[in-house]
Amino acid sequence: MYALRTAVALGIALALQALLAHAMGNRSVIDLVTVTVIYFALGAGPAAGILIGSAAGLAQDVLSGGVVGVNGFASCLVAFAAGAIGSQFIVANTLPRFVVFVAGSALQATCVIGLYALITPLGFGVAPARVAAQALFNGVVGVLAFQVVERAPRMIERRRLRRAHVRGRLSG
């Protein structure tokens, strides 16, 4: 079930990322796929994180038209680290989560840039400021994702209860 949810989430993240990149052109500073990878790896552990990261990265590579394996390598590494952290520490508060997302995003971007620098003569040409910005934004998005996922059911329940209460008063 967790795998299915992960796969669906990754699919959605890939689709949204593609839409976002199309909408914002080269100015997009959010990597939703990386956020999703870190998010699920934190809950799944390092072994599953390796698979999640590899699958997500490879999908990113295939869809992006770049060298297949670069994002796979980077996401695999990041997901493994996130999974290891999630299994060793209690990452339940906002700040630790934010740090994990920021660090994971930075590591992912660094790996991608580093690998491209190795395999292409001109490198990737990404400014460190953009890497930092993307890491920060990813951190924010990741924390928000946790908040949404954790609070959404209760909000929905409260809303359902409130509606039921209003309906009862109206009928009564």
Binding site: A47, I50, S54, L58, V67, G69, F73, L115
Partner: protein, 287 residues
């Protein structure tokens, strides 16, 4: 938990390597081939190099050790060949030395007035009491007892009658034999005497007057008065002069001939002429 951790490491490494493999399959090197190809080629090249080195080592070992069996046979064959060549060389050297000795003998032959016959020393004495040798000429060659025998260095001895010469061999009594004797004189002062064998190695000159002028270092030659030895041939050199009993002095002589090394000799087959006066070798022709 620990087992799970142990499984994760290889999984992570495998996943990362898999991604790198994918990357390398797509990325070209400066030479135009993919990194994967270059890596595989490089790795395969290393394997080839190692295999080649191993094969080379095995080949070297084969050549240097296993194939030594053939080398050993060849070595033995070559060693035998070297032995043959060394023997041949030794023979050639011996022949050259013999030719040299014969040449010297020939030169001496020209100096001997009488007819001579060359002979080879073929044996020594069977006992240690006498100093005799056997030569390769006998009755068939005209050899008879009391014929003088010469070497390029000087007098050697005489042919003895006991045992009598055979058809192709004769016994020669050396001058150093205890019972040998020859008429002699000191070359410088012309003082005469009789040279006899002393101890089998040295000679002694007897009947030399105390009035005679004798000095250490003087050469002693044959006087020819004995009717056997031709006149004027070296006998030896005086090494000591002692006062003897009576009217004579004792003169010790080192022989001119190394009797242990005589190989070729000349036998004077014609008796020397009766002494008529002083004469020197080389006068007249040889036989």
């Amino acid at each position: 938990m620990l087992a799970g951790r142990r499984r994760i490491g290889p999984l992570l490494v495998a996943a990362l390597l898999g991604h790198l493999l994918l990357v390398s399959l797509q990325v070209n090197t400066a030479g135009g081939v993919t990194v994967f190809s270059a890596l595989v080629f490089g790795a395969f090249g290393e394997v080839q190099r190692l295999v080649g080195a191993a094969a080379s080592s095995v080949g070297d070992a084969w050549r240097q050790y296993v194939a030594l069996a053939g080398v050993q046979e060849e070595n033995a064959r070559l060693r035998a060949r070297i032995d043959e060549i060394e023997i041949g060389l030794h023979e050639q050297r011996t022949l050259a030395l013999r030719a040299e000795r014969l040449e010297t003998l020939l030169g001496m032959r020209a100096r001997v007035p009488q007819r001579t016959l060359a002979a080879e020393v073929i044996a020594g004495d069977a006992t240690s009491w006498f100093r005799t040798v056997t030569i390769s000429r006998g009755r068939a060659d005209g050899i008879a007892p009391d014929m003088a025998v010469l070497a390029p260095q000087g007098l050697v001895g005489r042919v003895v009658g006991r045992p009598p010469p055979t058809a192709h061999a004769a016994r020669v009594q050396l001058l150093v034999d205890r019972s040998a004797a020859a008429a002699a004189m000191i070359e410088r002062s012309r003082a005469g005497g009789i040279v006899v064998g002393d101890d089998g190695v040295m000679l002694r000159m007897e009947y030399v007057s105390t009035l005679a002028d004798v000095q250490v270092g003087d050469a002693v030659i044959s006087s020819g008065l004995d009717g056997i030895y031709p006149k004027g041939f070296p006998i030896g050199e005086i090494v000591a002069v002692e006062r003897g009993q009576g009217l004579y002095q004792v003169v010790r002589i080192r022989p001119a001939v190394d009797f242990s090394a005589v190989e070729e000799v000349l036998v004077v087959v014609e008796p020397p002429p009766a002494p008529t006066g002083p004469a020197t070798p080389g006068e007249g022709g040889s036989g």
